[in-house]
């Protein structure tokens, strides 16, 4: 992409093609011979990491679309079926879901890198603006993708975000109706979001091509911020940049794999494991972490239209950056003031992200307004001002000089910045988390579970006992509709044989039909059948339960969570603690008090539970000592029942958990080996350049 190449194949067949379509020459000049500044640091590998992530997302996305059903009644179920039944479906879904977060994580680093080293300045303005367009497209794609699983957060996130457009004067309502294709978010909305979610990544890929083209015309910026002048300033893209990028990607994969295999739900919201319900809004609508800073700006401004304008303005202002910052020196390395303000700006952004996850009340609102002001002030006041008053330090004469000056210097900043960023990112995530389930309730005590941690395995005995408790107690009100009888005999499950599962299934009566006479009939269950639900529909369930709807238990251990608070959520990332759900469910089952504490006003038909948010629960105390007989001599106590049934329900919520952790171990061993090898290969290759 940097002009005609002098590349000439020698093979006659290739020569024949090359004369007619010089594609090899194009590839050669773009990705092999392309001269790249020799002083690039690892922040520059994020371009390659992003390209890699785009490929990963498109690949896994296309595959997931082969199994997904974009219909309001089936979307949630089809996602569960992908995770449970499709070969490696759980893996593909985890990759795609956490891949979105990784994509944004990488793009933020890429953008901050551009900001710090002045990569948007002349002659790279168009390159930068194309980047802003890609970012906007990514936000749209990510948002629509998040709607597709059709959980509670999907549905309400879609409602809130589409309603942003209702702020438009005069046409607002019509625009929103147009977006929805109905009078509310519903099936037409889901269908079009699916269509666009499939389309936009290819649009992104197209703009990425332009982005790279513009990059190859202007040449890469570099930490010194001086243009490459002679051949001594550059090295050929292959093998130097390629090897370095591959090493960078491989390190990034280690980080990525941690989420895929060990923390798949760390970045998600428990609420999204509850199917979309247009009648109930979750207590806190929190967008995905990567939108939080802009969400905070939206909420800081007390006027609807102004808030929306400020939010979009906060993104669009980036496009004007090349003209807002008119300083001649590119790299902040040589701009003592700009450098400090850059880091302050980073803190402001992270602060906004934190606030975006907090409830919009009290001090949070005030701080939110201050930070919003600072965000805009950085672009509109500070950068133009700095360009005038700052006295930059002298920049090196050439890239080669910069490299020579640095030989033997300190490579430390990268490491410390990475640590700082990780802590800050964690803070942000933790903020997101603390907003969930923050209603005044007692924290459940953390239990010991055999399935926790990287080597965790289910306890077959506990699962079999738990199944018994479910069948004899819970099943009278709660369904388990995503679990099939055949699952009981599958690897990683409660360890029954196929014959046992079959016998278990045949004890159930399953509705089937219609038969040749057109009538529905009952027959004994088969392994392929799912656990029948106790009520035919929600209305019947409510009618039989005093107005309360006993939730389906298939996903209950993933759909419930509680705030771990600071700094536990940070530690949790490293210890892989993710058993909030099971801890809560166990605690809830044991948390009944016969007498509510003095002063607590218990509504009619409710029961006091220490761990239930708000304490007044409609479900009567379900378990009592001796209620279920165990054959294996385990104590017949409420505590034991509660733990066993939770153990079973954890498996019900994630039947492939053992497979996930086992594969994770193999992948990590492999990735560490690959990363080490790539590191030394890269070192060997670069030895020639020094």
């Amino acid at each position: 992409m940097s002009g005609p190449s002098d590349f000439q194949p020698t093979n006659p067949a290739l020569k024949w093609i090359e004369r007619r379509l010089p594609i090899m020459g194009l590839m050669h000049s773009s990705f092999v011979a392309y001269p790249t500044p020799r002083n690039l640091n690892y922040w520059w590998t994020f371009g390659a990491i992003l390209s890699f992530m785009l490929v990963v997302q498109i690949l896994t996305g296309v595959i997931l679309a082969m199994h997904y059903t974009p219909h309001a009644d089936m979307a949630f179920k089809s996602v569960e079926l992908i995770v449970r039944d499709v070969n490696y479906g759980w893996l593909l879904r985890n990759i795609h879901a956490s891949g979105a977060s990784m994509f944004f994580f990488a793009v933020y680093i890429h953008m901050f890198r551009g900001l710090y080293y002045g990569s948007y300045k002349e002659p790279r303005e168009v390159l930068w603006i194309l980047g802003v367009i890609i970012y906007l497209l990514m936000m749209a794609t990510g948002f629509m993708g998040y709607v597709l699983p059709w959980g509670q957060m999907s549905f309400w996130g879609a409602t809130v975000i589409t309603n942003l457009f209702s702020a438009v004067p005069y046409f607002g309502e019509s625009i929103v109706t147009l977006l929805w294709g109905g009078y509310a978010v519903g099936n037409p909305t889901l269908n079009r979001f699916f269509s666009l979610h499939y389309l936009l990544p290819f649009v992104i890929a197209g703009v990425v091509v332009l982005h790279i083209w513009a990059l190859h015309v202007a040449g890469q910026n570099n930490p010194a911020g001086v243009e490459a002048k002679t051949e001594k300033d550059t090295v050929p893209f292959t093998p130097y940049a390629t090897m370095k990028d591959m090493f960078g990607v491989s390190c990034f994969l280690l980080f990525f794999a941690w989420f895929i295999f060990y923390m798949p739900n760390y970045l998600g919201d428990a609420e999204n494991y509850i199917p979309a319900n247009p009648a109930v809004t979750p207590a806190h609508i929190v967008p995905e972490w990567y939108y939080l800073p802009f969400y905070a700006i939206l909420r800081s401004i007390p006027n609807k239209l102004a808030g929306v304008v400020a939010m979009f303005g906060a993104i669009l202002i980036l496009a004007f950056l090349p003209w807002l910052d008119s300083a001649k020196t590119r790299s902040s390395k040589y701009r003592p003031l700009a450098k400090q303000f850059f880091w302050m700006f980073v803190v402001v952004c992270i602060g906004l992200g934190y606030l975006g996850a907090q409830p919009p009340e009290g001090i949070y609102v005030i701080v939110g307004r201050i930070l919003t002001f600072l965000y805009f002030a950085y672009f509109l006041i500070l950068l133009p001002l700095l360009a005038r008053i700052e006295k930059p330090r002298p920049v090196p004469n050439s890239i080669a000089d910069d490299v020579l000056a640095k030989t033997g210097g300190k490579p430390a900043p990268m490491v410390s910045t990475v640590i700082a960023l990780m802590v800050a990112g964690g803070l942000l995530l933790g903020g997101a988390e603390s907003a969930r389930a923050a209603e005044g309730s007692t924290k459940p005590p953390a239990q010991k579970w055999s399935f926790s941690g990287p080597f965790g395995k289910f306890d077959r005995g506990a699962m079999q006992r738990g199944l018994k408790v479910y069948k004899e107690v819970c099943a009278s009100c709660h369904g388990l509709s995503f679990v099939a009888f055949r699952n009981l005999a599958e690897a990683g499950g409660p360890g029954y044989s196929v014959a046992q599962a079959q016998a278990f299934a045949s004890e159930y009566k399953v509705k089937d039909g219609p038969n040749d006479q057109g009538e529905m009939f009952e027959r004994p269950g088969r392994p392929a059948d799912y656990f029948p639900s106790p009520f035919p529909n929600e209305q019947a369930a409510r009618a039989a339960n005093g107005g309360a709807f006993p939730p389906d238990l298939s996903l209950i251990t993933k759909a419930r969570s509680y705030s771990r608070g600071f700094p536990m959520f940070l530690i949790d990332f490293f210890t892989q603690y993710q058993e909030q759900g099971p801890d809560y469910v166990t605690a809830l089952l044991q948390g009944y008090e016969d007498k509510p504490p003095a002063g607590f006003n218990l509504p009619e038909g409710s029961f006091y539970n220490t761990y239930f948010p708000g304490h007044a629960i409609k479900m009567p105390k379900p378990l009592s000592d001796g209620q279920v007989t165990y054959d294996d001599g385990s104590p017949a106590t409420v505590a034991q029942y509660a733990k066993d049934v939770t153990h079973f329900l954890m498996w019900a919520a994630e039947p492939h958990m053992e497979a996930r952790k086992q594969l994770g171990l193999q992948v990590f061993v492999f990735l560490i080996l690959l990363t080490v090898l790539l590191y030394f290969t890269k070192k060997k290759v670069w030895a020639n350049a020094h």
């Binding site: 020698t10 290739l14 050669h28 070969n87 060997k684």
Partner: protein, 238 residues
């Protein structure tokens, strides 16, 4: 490394795949011509096991002779090991991406055996049931049909098979076949065609009362699915 000295256009990969006197086979020449075309190189690496390693090795010898600083064998080993590990990783990654296209667990479970009650099928009639998404014909054959099927000389058939081999002993009147034409998958119509068996309207294959191909483009007889008689009036398919 000498490629670097000569300018930005020449790179390590140029060195890696440069032809030298010893090997002028088409393959290595193609690789050499592709030069640093990394796409081609990737395809080659995935396509074959041993050759790329040999090529790498050969290429690297050129590299190492060009740069005197390094111990050649250690360097060879490093590059080859990295390439090999990366290829293993790439191959392992492809596995789940392809495996997901196979039938999922619920589809497999739904393909479990089914039971069919034969009592409602009168002599001379047939029914169609579905098993694993395929139509299965169950025909209650008349005496005449059975005799027709057995009268023909087996060796004269395009796909020689006796009628006895296509039904269960003692249940000669019951013909159970997969109702999918063995030509290109259309569904033949029962009780049609000049052999009183099945006739496929798509391209005119004609099957007899035993479901054997007698005429037309279909290469083989209609398949007999796995089934057993649970009782005299009930079969289990699958």
């Amino acid at each position: 490394m000498r490629s670097h000295g000569k300018g930005a256009n020449r790179t390590i990969l140029d060195c890696l795949f440069r032809r030298n006197g010893g090997r002028k086979s088409g393959f290595s020449a193609a690789a050499g011509a592709a030069g640093a075309g990394s796409l081609l190189r990737g395809a080659r690496l995935r396509g074959s096991g041993a050759v790329p390693l040999a090529a790498d090795k050969k290429g690297l010898e050129i590299v190492t002779t060009a740069s005197s600083a390094d111990h050649p064998t250690r360097r060879d080993f490093l590059y080859v090991a990295t390439g090999a590990v990366a290829s293993v990783g790439a191959a392992a990654t492809v596995w789940p991406l392809v495996s997901q296209m196979n039938p999922d667990a619920s589809t497999v479970a739904a393909g479990a055996p089914i039971e069919v009650d034969l009592t409602p099928i009168a002599e001379g009639q047939d029914i169609k049931v579905f098993w694993r998404g395929k139509p299965i014909y169950i025909s209650h054959r008349t005496k005449k049909q059975i005799e027709e099927a057995r009268a023909v000389s087996v060796s004269s058939l395009p796909d020689p098979q006796s009628d006895e081999a296509r039904v269960k002993p003692g249940h000669d009147q019951w013909l159970v076949v997969v109702g999918i034409c063995t030509h290109l998958g259309c569904i033949p119509i029962a009780h049609e065609g000049q052999y009183d068996g099945f006739f496929c309207p798509c391209h005119g294959s004609v099957y007899d009362t035993s479901g054997r191909i007698r005429q037309g483009p279909a290469p083989t007889n209609l398949a007999v699915p796995p089934y057993t008689f649970v009782s005299d009036t009930k079969i289990q398919i699958g």
